[in-house]
Structure formats: C-alpha cells, structure tokens
Symmetry: C2
Subunit: 243 residues, 2 copies
Amino acid sequence: MNTLPGDARLPRYQQLRDHMVEQIANNRWRPGEAIPTEAALASEFQMSVGTVRKAVDVLVAEGVLERQQGRGTFIRRPQFQSSLFRFFRFESANGARVVPESRILSIEPLPAPSAVAAALGLAAQTEVIRIVRLRLLGAQPVLAEEIWLARQTFQPLLEVELDRKGPLLYPIYETLCGQVVAYAEETLTAESVDAVQGRLLQLPEGSPVVVIERLARDYAGKPLEWRRSRGHAQHFRYRIDIR
Amino acid sequence: MNTLPGDARLPRYQQLRDHMVEQIANNRWRPGEAIPTEAALASEFQMSVGTVRKAVDVLVAEGVLERQQGRGTFIRRPQFQSSLFRFFRFESANGARVVPESRILSIEPLPAPSAVAAALGLAAQTEVIRIVRLRLLGAQPVLAEEIWLARQTFQPLLEVELDRKGPLLYPIYETLCGQVVAYAEETLTAESVDAVQGRLLQLPEGSPVVVIERLARDYAGKPLEWRRSRGHAQHFRYRIDIR
DNA sequence: AAGTGGTCTAGACCACACA
DNA sequence: GTGTGGTCTAGACCACTTC
C-alpha cells in the first residue's frame, strides 16, 4: 500500500504514469528490467487493474515500456543506433545493414561555446568535452560528427581509449558515466558542404549534405549530449507515413 | 442490433475498428461528421461501451477519428497542407506561416510512365494526368511539383480552370472528383538541382534541393495521387522526437 | 500448474458542450 | 437539464510463458 505524489487533480492513471517515469528517472528500475505486475501495482496504489493498465498504455505509447504477454512489462532500452538507419541507408555489398565503424579524430575539454551551453542548459563557458569523429564503411567516410558533453558528468571519457570500445557511444555513457539516454530531439536540414567538412567526408566542396542535430536527454528530461552529424545526401532517404 | 463481418477470431474491438474503417471508406460517414455515440455503437453491436471505447481508441491513435469531450467523435479531415510546413519553413515578412500560392505550368493527359503506373497501381500505359506547378511566395518560387493522377478518376480536373480554385488540391479532388485523401506515405531525399529544375526554382545548377515524393491514398488504401516536390534546401528544416 | 498480460463486461460517477 | 465523452471499478475469462 502506498500513496501517489503529484497533483491530485490529475486522473489517477496520469499520477501513476508520472510516478513510474520518476522511478525510472531515479534509476529505481533499470532499462531491461521488468516493472511490478499490474496486480501488484494495483494493490500497492489502491486502484483497480484497469487504471494501472491505462497508465501502462500511456507509457507503452510513449515508447518507455514494452509489454510481453505472459512474461511481464519491461523498461525499454532505446535503440538509438537505429536513428541513423532511419535517415541514411548504410548497407554492405550484400545489402545487409551495417553500423559504420567509428574513428575519433579528436576529444578534448574546452569552455562551452554559447550555442552549445544553451542547448545543454549549462552556464556560458562551462567546461565541456568536444568529440570529433568520422563514421566509415570500409575506407569510405559516410558521416562526420561533432559531439558535445558536459565535462563534469562525462569526465571518464577523457581517461579511456574510446576507439577501442566500439562505434556506439550510448552504451559507453551508461557503463562509464552512469548516464542513460532516454529521449532525443532531432532536427534535419540540408546544405552545401564547406571546405573543412568536405575534406572529412571526401566530397567536393558544394556537394549536398544532410545535417542532423540531436539533443539527447535522460528519463528526467535533462540534456546529456548535443551532436551534429553531416552525411552525403546521396545516402539519405527518409520515409514517413502521414494522415 | 447488428453483427460484425470479418474474422471472428480477432478481438471484438478489432472487428469493430475494421468495420468502422470500412464505413468511412464506403463514404457511409463523411469527413467532419460525427460517428454514432459510444452507447449507440455498443447496443448496435451487442458489446459493452468499454469495448467500443477500445476500438475508437485505436482509430484515434491512427489519426482517423477525433474525440471532443461533451460533443462527440468525428471523422478527422486530414490537413495535408501542413505536410509541407513540417518540412519547409514558409513565412511571411512578419513571421506568420503562409500557404504558398500556386501557378500551374501545365496539365495534360498522357500514357503513364512505368514508374508512375507502378506507384499508382495501374497497368502500364494507362492514361494519367500530369500536372506541373510552381509554389510561390510573392514572386519567389519555393517549390516545384510534378503531380500524377489516374485520368479515369480525375478527368474533371481537365475541364476547369484549376488556378482559379486556390493552392490546395485535395479539397478540389473531394468536391470535383469525390475522392478523399486519407493517408499518405512520403519519402525525403536530397540532391543537387539539375538545369531544368534549377530554372524553375531560380537556383544555380548544383544547389542543394530537398525532394519529397508522396503517395496519397484514400481510406480504403487505394493510391490516388503520386507527386514529387522539390524545394530549396535553405528553407528545409524537419524536427522529430525519438525514443 | 502458476503467473503474466489481453480481452471484455456492466455498471458508477465526473467534466464538458449545448440548448 | 440532457447528452456526450472521460475516468474508474471489480470482477470474469482467455492466451501466452515459464516451470
């Protein structure tokens, strides 16, 4: 038995939803784990199973939870490497999808430029870490990325050989820095590549490139990472259903 | 009282959902109209209100219906002109969003090229209508569009002065041809503009443009229109939330 | 067989729209 | 006030997973 915090004017299923998000944000439940059964939650918070189901429905629709009939309901671990696949077609010679390798060109602490500080919600000049890296298929560069992180939180990254740890950063954030990326906002634009980026991507200056800016947040909504990725427009294809 | 058609092994709420989609597809209910109340549907199909609510929930999530507390549940009329706003920022001098004007450059019947026939689900060489038009803000072209329609269904378009009827085609399809666009699939790509399109858009050859291909369908899923729009990448910005 | 989520019921009361 | 959708209850039984 327990009582729900939060605004009592809200529907009870919303209060429960908010409470569960908070549990996840506070690492009470970890990604991949099962939450208590619907019956257990109903009895803990003195509500009917139907109300619990409605709260869970909301979180499933938001992509936070995942139901598995007969097994339980689990905290979903977001699959962010799929993000690039939504935008860029990276395929090996036989047509299988491939995660491009990663080559880190630089990683260094520096005072935050004002745009980065604003995006990450930091005071101007706060120390941040900038990572510049290339993503490659074989020898061919396909994406150039700039990644910005608060130094205070991500200091451990400066003390390891990142390139040894594979192309995906978010699992590293989780194991090394205890930070879980839960949501992200992405903005797509397109532009003509400049000389610097063109050299990185081995494209003639003026070639069309697609730019993806991403702000990644934890379950509590706190900004963790800001990154800007540029890729050759020729690999870019994005499909969407509208109504 | 009534019985539901369809696969009786499916959950009853799914059967009701399918039935309602069929009603809409057959123009039994028109966009903007209210569907029967939940209580009426429950008694008509001999199920509880909770089951009706679940069927309606699904259709609301799919964007087909819209609930209005205290008023009723309505067939949603899709607002497709907002599609371009999702991708391109068209603003007047004072920052307000504007629907670009339309200037039709050509409209003519011709045998379907094979790619168009495939997209529209027509036999090769079926007669189709091709519309080429520019979208402009003031004197400035911002989008160039190619639009393909089955001639048999859209013949009335050839017999009117389309430019007199405003920049939005879908309301015209509805009033003149009785066709309601319900869903669409869009594919985004980017490329360097060629000489022909560059002249239309008043851009130097090689400038980056974003290409949107759209296949629009009616409620029954039948393809109605295939179009390809090109716009200057500088106006392109698309934001998305991921999890 | 036991435990989980999935479907469904029949009712209650609340919040909002509208005449 | 009447009618609509919105919330919530307390059960029942089904389908699937796991032991």
